[in-house]
């Protein structure tokens, strides 16, 4: 046989080797799929565990993603809102505005009268009848101060707020950026925690798939022995196990995706009800196509890695006897 193939041009051999390789991969993948379907309960349980393990970090990621989207709506306000006492005269307000314009660290002052504020409120909420119920305009005049420095540090911002609050005309002063920054800091901590959780759960997926494959290898010990006896290479024997690792990973990813979609579906109505209460157009964001792809890819590579570790350790131990 060797002699005959030696006479063939090498390109032909290479092509043939490649197509044989492809054929054997196709056979191995179909075979391992068949094995998975032959034991539906076992396969389902492993896939479910992998799915739950993957859905946790993915779910936290979605939570973070959505809270960041909420926060991003607020982020563009780098202004300090100064709510003045009610009952101030128009002149007093303008006077204060000009005075503040001279302050160190303030570059611009914008004045919103109570009437303007009410108008804006009505246009945002769409509840025109609110003014008629209220009768009198309850809103105070507002001065919006633009700090000179774009990114004021929290300490400097706090200091300025203290000074502003001390003014007799001022009812309260609020620097939105201040607590947005704090929110972002919190989100950052949560993100770190989620990353660590994701790593831990990824290791869990590796172990789950690895253990499942280890059991599968031992269940098919005699088959592996016979295969080796008839000249199967380690690569040939490994292939179906590696494929089943990949399939379990992908199955787990799909299950995680399904779990997340179900959760989003159930949360959608309450969240939009809450958003309505805040007069916000906010809608929950699910996983984007690229994120789903990433989830599938992570599942597949975790499954492959888990089975790889198992296969490397256990298949070599099995020798025909």
């Amino acid at each position: 046989m060797n002699k005959r193939s030696g006479l063939q041009p090498s390109r032909y051999n290479l092509k043939k080797t490649f197509s044989t390789w492809l054929l054997q991969h196709a056979q191995a993948s179909i075979f391992s799929l068949g094995q998975l379907f032959k034991q539906p309960l076992n396969s389902f349980l492993t896939t479910a565990v992998v799915g739950i393990a993957l859905s946790l970090p993915a779910g936290f990621y979605l939570l973070l993603d959505n809270s960041q989207r909420v926060a991003a709506d607020w982020d563009n306000s780098s202004e300090i809102s100064l709510f003045l006492q009610t009952g101030l005269e128009q002149e007093q307000v303008t006077e204060l505005a000009t005075a503040l314009g001279q302050w160190n660290g303030i570059s611009a002052v914008r004045h919103i009268s109570p009437e303007q504020a009410l108008e804006e409120f009505i246009s945002q909420t769409g509840s025109a009848d609110i003014s008629s119920t209220l009768g009198e305009n309850p809103l105070p005049a507002i001065l919006l101060l633009q700090p000179e420095i774009e990114n004021l540090s929290i300490a400097a911002g706090e200091e300025m707020l203290e000074k502003l609050r001390a003014l007799p005309e001022v009812d309260s002063a609020q620097f939105d950026r201040q607590w947005i920054q704090r929110l972002f800091a919190i989100i950052d901590i949560v993100r770190k925690a989620v990353t660590i959780l994701a790593i831990v759960l990824a290791i869990a997926v590796l172990l789950i798939v690895g253990n499942t494959i280890r059991l599968a290898i031992y269940n098919r010990r005699s088959e592996i022995e016979v295969n080796k006896l008839f000249g199967a290479t380690d690569a040939f024997i490994q292939r179906p196990f590696l494929y089943s690792g990949i399939f379990q990973g992908i199955g787990g990813s799909l299950m995680a995706w399904a779990l997340l979609s179900l959760t989003l579906f159930l949360m959608e109505a309450p969240v939009s009800r809450l958003a309505e209460l805040y007069a916000s157009q906010f809608r929950l964001h699910g996983l984007a196509f690229s994120e789903v792809l990433f989830l599938l890819l992570s599942g597949a590579s975790l499954g492959l890695a888990g089975s790889w570790v198992s296969v490397k350790r256990h298949i070599r131990d099995i020798e025909p006897a």
Partner: protein
């Protein structure tokens, strides 16, 4: 085809299974390896199949020095050998067809070729109608014949059979030996470990007799000598 030069084999515990064996088996020969249980029949076959390694001497099989056949070369070497066992070692989770196809699938044959060859092998052992059946549904003799079909389907140069007729009645055993004889007539070297002396005598082939790991008779001698 097979040459043993001063071959000894030791198990891990220091127990010597074979001692200073010298023998030569020609291509297309049909040779019985006989002796009592524990005499080293299986060990001899296992050395040739690289299931065990010899500890001294030199073994040449099919032109290859077995000491040099290591790592990735082992599977390729084994593809030139067909195996048969007393306990068949058929895989019960697949059909007769798939069992016989195994060596061809391993070697990467295409489906059309696999089908042709498996059918030819099934025809040879007279089980053409049973290709879709699970091995469990077959009788002992039929299972053994499936084992034979699997052992020769990839046209090995060497066929190793370890007690292939151990569980069969004399008539079935005789049929199987006749099949082996046909293989050797088309150029396959056949090595059969067996202690069925009556049948061995009737077959009138070369015999290697082992006793406690030593060679008792050489090729060409018969038991009576």
């Amino acid at each position: 085809m097979i040459r043993f030069t001063d071959v000894s084999m030791q198990y891990g515990d220091g127990n010597e299974a074979l001692r200073r064996i010298n023998l030569f088996v020609e291509q297309a020969a049909m040779v019985y390896v006989t002796g009592r249980s524990g005499a080293g029949k299986s060990s001899l076959l296992r050395l040739i199949a690289l299931i065990e390694r010899h500890s001294r001497g030199q073994i040449i099989v099919n032109g290859q020095n077995l000491e040099r056949v290591t790592g990735r070369r082992v599977p390729l070497f084994r593809r030139s050998i067909g195996f048969m066992f007393q306990d068949h070692r058929l895989l019960h989770d697949r059909s007769v067809f798939d069992n016989i196809a195994l060596p061809l699938v391993i070697a990467g044959y295409r489906y059309q070729e696999i089908r042709r060859r498996v059918h030819a092998a099934l025809d040879k052992v007279g089980l053409l109608k049973k290709e879709k059946v699970s091995p469990i549904a077959l009788s002992g003799g039929e299972q053994q014949r499936v084992g034979i079909a699997r052992a020769v389907v990839h046209r090995p140069a060497l066929l190793l059979a370890d007690e292939p007729t151990g569980n069969l009645d004399p008539a079935l055993s005789w049929d199987i030996m006749k099949l082996f004889e046909q293989f050797s007539q088309v150029g396959v070297t056949v090595l059969i470990a067996s202690h069925d002396l009556d049948m061995i005598k009737k077959m009138n082939k070369s015999i290697i007799t082992l006793r406690e790991g030593r060679l008792l008779t050489h090729i060409g001698q018969t038991i009576d000598e």
